[in-house]
Subunit: 348 residues, 2 copies
């Protein structure tokens, strides 16, 4: 008879593996009754907790979980495509789950994946995620986690990201090069590392160029959608008519803002120049077309899967796993929402 596993205890009590794991460690969110029941069963079945947290799981499922904030989203749907294509090449199945940027939903998705006995998890965390205990939980069960795009510095794991500070810097620098003197920023949520870093890049570019950084020029977006772009554009026009450039955290918000400016008769780029982020397809077909930062989404999905696969392979061979952070390049795509001003500025 082999070693008793968490799965066997879970099965015998009709509980989830997560609940059993938590009960054994007397987590406060598990009832006293359940904790007692689980501990009794563990004793009865002669369960030995593995302090090195190795081999808790009996066999590979050849299934991985992919947790993302949104499915109907140009960037994330391309990531899904990249992950699924690489997974299939390697005989893996992908369970795709969406959190809708909600922390509680994300925790539920993670529990679901643990119960489904995935071999590992790829995750871009929700903007509203405030702590990562659910991911430590995954790691404590010897499941590898790879984070991509939306990461938390508090989790020690491999990561596939872009350099958001650099990208935010270049976006803002481009506006400065186009002659903008009073540059606003539409940023994302305070809890999102991408948003923090793009904001820092914006600030750095202003400071380096000797332009004044003014916190009242920073507009906070929460939902990061089209409507919020319209609303923040309205606010900006009410507050400060002297803004002549805006770096906007994501293309969808930028397209919302441009729609509002056009409706109010503001000329882009002559009166306000705009740089977005993400190089969504729609940015190339709107009028004027939107200058933006291109970031690799499909490639990010492929590399995230392969990073996870490499960890799984090393674990199987009992080799040491070194966490790595892969930083993918970004590029500014210059289009009409800034270019005419650049020409004008150069001819001065």
């Amino acid at each position: 008879m082999g070693r008793t596993t968490l799965q066997q205890i879970a099965l015998s009590l009709n509980l989830s593996v997560t609940t059993v794991s938590k009960a054994l460690r007397s987590y406060p969110d598990v009832s006293e009754k359940t904790i007692q029941k689980v501990k009794e069963a563990a004793k009865l079945l002669n369960y030995k907790p593995n302090t090195f947290a190795v081999n808790l799981r009996t066999q590979e499922s050849k299934t991985i979980g992919l947790v993302i904030p949104e499915i109907v989203h140009q960037f994330f749907s391309s990531v899904i495509k990249g992950v699924i294509e690489e997974a299939e090449k390697n005989g893996y199945v992908v369970i795709v789950l969406q959190t809708s940027q909600d922390f509680e939903t994300e925790k539920k998705r993670i529990e679901f994946l643990i119960d489904k006995q995935v071999d590992g998890i790829l995750i871009a965390i929700a903007d509203q995620t405030v702590d990562c205990f659910h991911l430590y939980e995954v790691q404590s069960m010897d499941l590898p986690v790879v984070m991509f795009d939306k990461i938390s510095k508090s989790v020690s794991c491999s990561k596939v990201i872009i350099d958001d500070i650099k990208a935010g810097y270049e976006a803002t620098k481009h506006l400065i090069d186009c002659g903008c003197k009073n540059i606003a920023h539409f940023r994302g949520p305070l809890t999102s590392q991408n948003s923090i870093d793009r904001y820092l890049g914006y600030k750095k570019a202003l400071e380096e160029s000797g332009l004044k950084f003014d916190e009242s020029n920073v507009y906070h977006c929460i939902k990061m959608n089209f409507e919020e772009g319209q609303e923040q554009a309205q606010k900006l026009l009410q507050n400060n008519r002297s803004v002549d450039g805006i770096f906007i955290n994501t293309d969808m918000v930028a397209v919302g803002a441009m729609t509002e400016f056009k409706a109010q008769g503001i000329k882009i780029p002559e009166e306000i120049s705009i740089v977005g982020f993400g190089n969504w397809f729609l940015s190339s077909v709107i009028t004027p077309s939107l200058t933006t930062i291109d970031q690799p989404s499909y490639t990010m999905g492929k590399i995230a899967f392969n990073t996870l696969l490499s960890e799984l392979t090393k674990r199987k061979k009992n080799e040491h796993v070194e966490h790595e952070t892969v930083i993918l390049p970004t590029e500014i795509i210059e289009r009409e929402s800034t270019l005419a001003r650049k020409k004008f500025n150069i001819s001065l």
Copy 2:
């Protein structure tokens, strides 16, 4: 000892379940050697083929397969979202796979899902799919199939669709109501039922209104992407400058065509009015905004899952399963790419 299953034979020979199933029925695409090996193993293990094709599978996997042509696609990513949300509510896992509109890839995806022992399959078939033997194969293994959006009439199963003839008719009728007299159509592939039906709707509207139907006004698209829209628009301008309206099979192609017309200085809608199909988000933000047919994608995903779930539930209870075809409503969304002409026409 229980009854020998296909899975056991497959496992003992290190073959896929599909190959075993095919070998037992001496399919021509399985080698003579494999057929012999499988039949010997079947005899040895006392395998009894189940003529009613029931209970071939030993237990539920609570996993379903979702096969779609493209993931990075406004319509299909919304369908995925609808399917995943309903599945999760009901404790099911979804394996999402993409065919890139290719027939051979689709066959491989289906084999993969059979091997993964899914409980059932949701599929929108590829435009290039020319026969459905791979789906008959699924059904012969007692796995329910539900088709949505891109269906084949040759498969007897439940379907969730829209009325493409009616939608194509209404799109064309709207152009006629706007005063267009010479209406072209950019259609999709000849093998796609959607494309056939939208084309039939276009033809019907012309004929009912006493307008001449002219086959040379029908442009064939294969890839259904932005670039093809530009190319077909170029061709149309070379062929026939008297066309004053176009009904285009999908919004992405329509946006490509509009970009080309704008580049050549053609006024939309004054010189050429355009109606697209699908109500993609980008259609509402381009200039001029695009009149289009709204079709429910998220709802289609939800209903497709629930149709499959209802079949799975009935099968478990050994109840009779009646295939049903659910037809979801569509709606014309009138925007600038036709409206100005409508006003002009009315004022005549």
